[in-house]
């Protein structure tokens, strides 16, 4: 599974994307696995109220299933326009 990070999530974690092998069933479980990877991840995911998630390029919730998913992205609230 490809995991992408944008904006300050990308800066905190230090990479724009990475391949992640996981058995997490939901986004929330994936977040817990990532947080356990070290301080940068723990910091990036410290305030989940400021984290948005897209699964296969569709905005969704932490409870979303990862079954068959190819791409998960984490980013702060969007500020376009």
């Amino acid at each position: 599974m490809q995991v992408l990070y944008f904006a300050w999530m990308r800066e905190r974690i230090g990479v724009p994307k990475e391949k992640v092998v996981t058995s997490a069933a939901t986004v929330a479980e994936l977040v817990e696995e990532l947080k356990a990877r070290g301080e940068r991840y723990a910091m990036a995911f410290a305030d989940m109220a400021s984290v948005r998630v897209a699964v296969d390029q569709e905005l969704t919730e932490l409870s979303a299933s990862l079954k068959g998913v190819r791409e998960v992205a984490f980013f702060p609230p969007m500020t376009g326009g």
Partner: protein, 143 residues
């Protein structure tokens, strides 16, 4: 699909002319142009985006607008990359037989684009721009 996500600047007059060229059934053309404001501190900005998802999100917002209002045409252009103060960021154009549809659709598209299209602004002086509460509450109007 009348959505473009691009680094290049755009020409509002040319886009409007292209929309109304060769037809005489449009009664109302509304344009919204978003510009980089020169904030005290930093005048340069970088707009990061999520390639692929951005286009999908804009196409879906446009489709939603077309479902709600009788639009004759619709165009969305959003830039990414480094942008100086005064630069154009986003263009929304809507065409309809009547003015209220054109106005409402353009405002709807901007409201959704603001907090549902994956763009993030980083200002040279002050860093990542925080999402505004007002942008989230603006969506309430369309429920």
């Amino acid at each position: 699909m009348a959505v473009s996500v691009q680094a290049e600047d755009f020409n509002v007059g040319a886009e409007m002319a292209a929309m109304s060229a060769g037809r005489a059934d449009i009664g109302a053309l509304v344009s919204f142009t978003g510009l980089v404001r020169d904030m005290a501190g930093g005048s340069e900005m970088v707009l990061e985006h999520y390639p692929g998802m951005t286009e999908k999100a804009l196409v879906s917002i446009e489709a939603e607008a077309r479902g709600r209002w009788a639009l004759q045409d619709c165009r969305i252009i959003h830039r990414f990359g480094p942008l100086n103060a005064g630069a154009q960021i986003v263009l929304v154009l809507t065409a309809s037989p009547h003015r209220h549809a054109a106005f409402e659709a353009a405002e709807f598209i901007m409201d959704f684009l603001k907090s549902r299209a994956p763009f993030w602004k980083k200002e040279a002086g002050s860093g990542w721009v925080d999402a505004r509460e007002a942008d989230e509450t603006a969506l309430e109007r369309w429920k």
